[in-house]
Subunit: 369 residues, 4 copies
């Protein structure tokens, strides 16, 4: 490999272009990854459009990726202590440099709030090297946590993609009861993985409110027992629909995965007294919303739980789950579309408008003619 | 006892008057309680002023009370199975008729949301008998859960009063760490008991923001390590003050005990990432408030927990705690004032304006001349 | 119905016989249940053989049963508050008279340890009425908690039977991680339901060690990913087998469902450091076992959790789960055999020796010729 | 400092001697610590006597120590990110090199079971440098987690010593209820800190069973509400005594801190149904013990929790607690005795026999004449 092509986001509100880079020099205990596919998710749309603060433009986006290990300098081990070999197919945790030395890491044990952490494809930029997956190859810095995929096909892994560990974290925080009812607000990638995981966790009923039609269809395909089109019903009608399916009480657990601030208050109102709301859809600042602390929270004896990011345990759990062929088959029902490096702007548009459920960047794809 | 005097709230927005009632006929396994003192709390102000829905006026208020058991018909036992005797000094859980048969009781195990529950002095009215503590005597219906006070003086118990089990429930839900920092918003009776209990739970720092001066003094007397006058600092200055005392991070736990909807959002902003907010001050509907789901909740990975009512375990725990003379001595620092049956309107005014920290109705008190 | 036939256990160590009883007089809010089928479980073998203390012989065994409501006097409601009608197919919680008034019920919130509780078919005897399911009909006393089965076939419910809520309680206490590995010791009815529920809870690997062959086959049929014949491998070989399937660490969670005291220490040794052991198989006193507190518990940072009985929430959850046709289909793979009232001694023998996996008493069955 | 004196344990079963070492060469981000005092605990007795496996003799013991930072090469920061200065008084977490890369660290989040961790004064030996506190100075390797003591006197910190974070971890795992009753078995340093922390956590009653008299006196001085001499009562009488103080039920929580395997089964028997037992006293292999899984565990619905080591959060919490002067004063009631470097063998003897409650090595002490 003499040159590495990568799709670069040059700055806030500017379209991506494809550039050539020299292969990286490897530090001790680092590696080159030949990218098989990388993801285009809602965060990437925000990156292109300049809605995230502190992004080190220009950057190569693509935070969750699958590839084959190329040259390894020194030693890479997985968490079982096994040495990874050149040629193995792996993915890796996009979060890097969690410090394990600060108060958040060591005392609060809330490593997703460690101020030192960096994220490949989001807070690492071109200055930091080949640090995003929309490229022929990436540079895996020392300390990057890799997981061998083994029998898991890259496509199956990517059907979950970054949304799966995010949803797994949310479901872990949701304390779903065996036989209980879960409401998922939103049916983008995080919502879809939340639906699947809620079923895997033993929820008997999984209601989904979302849009557009393509994604609602996917929600049903992956296991939602009931679905409602968000765009055709106002907040009151949505709530009535939930109550109708829950003996008039509301869902035991609601997972908010929409991005709309108003959905957080709606989530409280659709949840039964003494239930749980997990807020996992508010990844960018889209302003304030209002609620009634007496009626929506205190009198309901409700738990409302923010859920930020994910750590290695969620990423590892995601791969463990996908090792199960029967479970993997559910994720494989999510429609995906592949784009070449020259088509990432189209991919971003398609994700933004919901024309695709899941978009992948595949550097081997030829550009659309 | 041929006649029983009681202070009656005749209707929403109307002043109390004192009336005479005949002593009750006792059903099997019921008893008469000769009241020693009963409480006047913020909820009673709402009762008088008509701010609670569904109150069965006229009612005798006074939900938490202490007295001596008079005539017992049949058998009353405490939770240890011991038979209570006539003449014993007791208190009793104000919540009655939790059904132990509905979905909330049996499946959700959230008995404070049981729709069958009744509360002495709040949802029982004169129609239901002598069911409030602002009286010479009360009727303890079958199934009322009594606790013998033993060595605990009635005044000490009342220094905690209904606020103590409420605060105990909040502190139980707060998951305070040994050596952590707790912020209490509000220094009315619930806030004061929360301060004491936070210290009893091992919080090293307990910050309190409240008003007026009399209550803030009490907050310091019972163990707040730092205090700030709410009325002299705006929300931004309050938050800065909290950050200054918490290494710039915010409190590990914030307990909201104010009644002001805006305090809930402020509580989120004053709590460190991955911390807990317990909302225990929103007992009446005072409208909506707004917050930013991204900045205040999701990105902070925060837990916000409504806390409604209390059950027998909290009431029992309160009495257990007060059996400890050293701990009891802390509650005894809370200033209290006694009022006769003819003075309850004054007591309500004094509670409403914060002129007293804690007001008791003592039926044996002579009216203020 | 002029006479009710019932299979009666006359005393410790004595064979059952079939007797005739008059139909019961109904107290207010009680009902007659026409039994469709009832269970024969390991506890019933102990009952016949006299290995349980304090059994009020003679008794009609059969604690978990399905039937149709006959005459109802007064009102029976389900937990949703819906009135049950004559002719509905129901099951009911075998535990009756949990007091909701003692320290265990109200303070410890450990209602399965309430000293007042009675169990149909185990601690109620003939003296208490038609209180067991091995009969044409049963008497449902006031306060019995019924659940309508709706679409759930009686056979499907009975494939879970009393083992399903027991296993559900164990799995609830086990804190299984999504994608984790669970080891189930034993493949009797509780073990089989634990295997199914562990998968429903998201365990990626479920190992089972048990015997005999018939039951191990059932373990595989219901979802165990690996199985080992207990009788063909000693304790060391069993442990080696577990380590081999768990990266050398042991299972994340072990559920002991064998009845053999030595299995408890073995469970500790087969679980990974900082994992959980749930002990749910020690329902009768079969003596002591020994373990090494340093190596097996303290150094391993292990949690070992006893799990006694089940409450209404587990029973309710069991029926909720069986409402799902796909999940129900897994329980339907468990082989069952029906016996008439005159054949219950044979049924008990077959359960004891493991010749059947699951035995039902069906009062409509003709005796085996 | 031209030479550093240190008391060295030369091998299993051999008496310590004092040797001279050259001052260490400092790697980047390391420091020299001038020792003010270090601890002699029960583990050190095991070290001398050869009862721990894998000790890299010769070693300088003394795992928890207090001193002043001498030369610093590069930068040392505390968890708040503040740079530590030469001359500051600090302590440090004795555990070093937790890897944050293995399955136990990242997936199980059980870092005390990380196989890479090393412990100053226990698993680091003379080969690794000046890695124990029984010396004029120690070498703080890069990555050592220091905490500035600020106003906390070294003696107060040492009254807790290594036992305090160990006990804090145990109390954290014990889920003590506000107003509950805790039984502590053993009144060595871990037992004493557990007594204090149980009270700080809100236990109303703290029972202690231990010996000898000197330590039982200390137990009472630090807050045990009842105490019993272990040596004067057999297991049955001890259990009767506990039941007598707990309404016949047993303690809500029992913390085992004795080192005797039989105490683990006794702990189960002295705990109420549905309570918790934390096992924190089994740090060396002293063989097996037997218990009855039916009577002692399953039927009791008991939780038995092993508790291994402590992590930075416990060490940090310990210092936070000692910042509170009122709380610190309780630890200051524990009798301590200081020994010079030449007297450590005597110190070990005194610890072993219980002649002292707490023994410190103070390198500035002159040898006993």
């Amino acid at each position: 490999m003499t040159r590495v092509r990568a799709a670069v986001l040059p700055g806030a509100g500017r379209a991506p272009d494809v550039r050539d880079f020299p292969p990286p020099d490897l530090e001790p205990d680092s590696a080159l990854l030949h990218v098989e596919c990388s993801e285009v998710c809602g965060t990437d749309v925000h990156l292109r459009d300049g809605r995230l603060a502190g992004v080190p433009y220009p950057i190569i986006a693509g935070h969750v990726s699958v590839g084959r290990l190329g040259a390894i300098r020194g030693t890479l081990r997985d968490v079982h202590g096994r040495r990874l070999r050149e040629g193995e197919r792996v993915t890796f945790l996009d979060v890097h440099r969690t410090c394990h030395a600060c108060w958040y890491c060591l005392v609060a044990k809330a490593s997703t709030r460690c101020p030192q952490r960096k994220v490949y494809g989001i807070t690492y930029g071109v200055e930091d090297g080949l640090t995003g997956g929309w490229a022929d190859a990436m540079y895996l810095k020392p300390g990057t946590r890799c997981i061998a995929l083994g029998d898991v096909p890259g496509d199956s892994f990517m059907a979950g993609g970054c949304a799966l560990p995010t949803a797994l974290h949310a479901v872990e925080r949701a304390d779903i009861e065996l036989g209980g009812t879960v409401l998922v607000l939103g049916c983008g990638p995080v919502g879809l993985s939340a639906i699947i995981l809620a079923r895997l966790r033993g929820a008997q009923g999984v209601l989904c409110i979302g849009a557009p039609h393509l994604r609602l269809q996917a929600a049903e395909a992956v296991g939602a027992t009931q679905r409602l089109d968000f765009s055709a019903h106002d907040a009151g009608a949505q709530r009535d629909w939930v109550l109708e399916h829950t003996h008039g009480r509301g869902a035991d657990v609601t997972i908010e995965a929409t991005g709309d601030p108003a959905a957080v208050a709606q989530a409280m109102r659709c949840t039964r007294d003494a239930g749980r709301v997990v807020v996992v859809g508010q990844y960018t600042d889209r302003g304030e919303t209002s609620f009634n602390p007496h009626l929506d929270l205190n009198q309901k004896h409700l738990d409302v739980r923010g859920c930020w990011g994910s750590d290695f345990s969620h990423f590892f759990g995601a791969v463990e789950i996908l090792h199960d062929a029967a479970w993997r088959a559910v994720w494989e029902r999510i429609p995906m579309r592949r784009y070449g490096l020259h088509d990432v702007d189209q991919a971003l548009d398609d994700v933004e408008t919901g024309r695709v459920v899941k978009a992948l960047v595949d550097p081997a794809s030829a550009p659309t003619p």
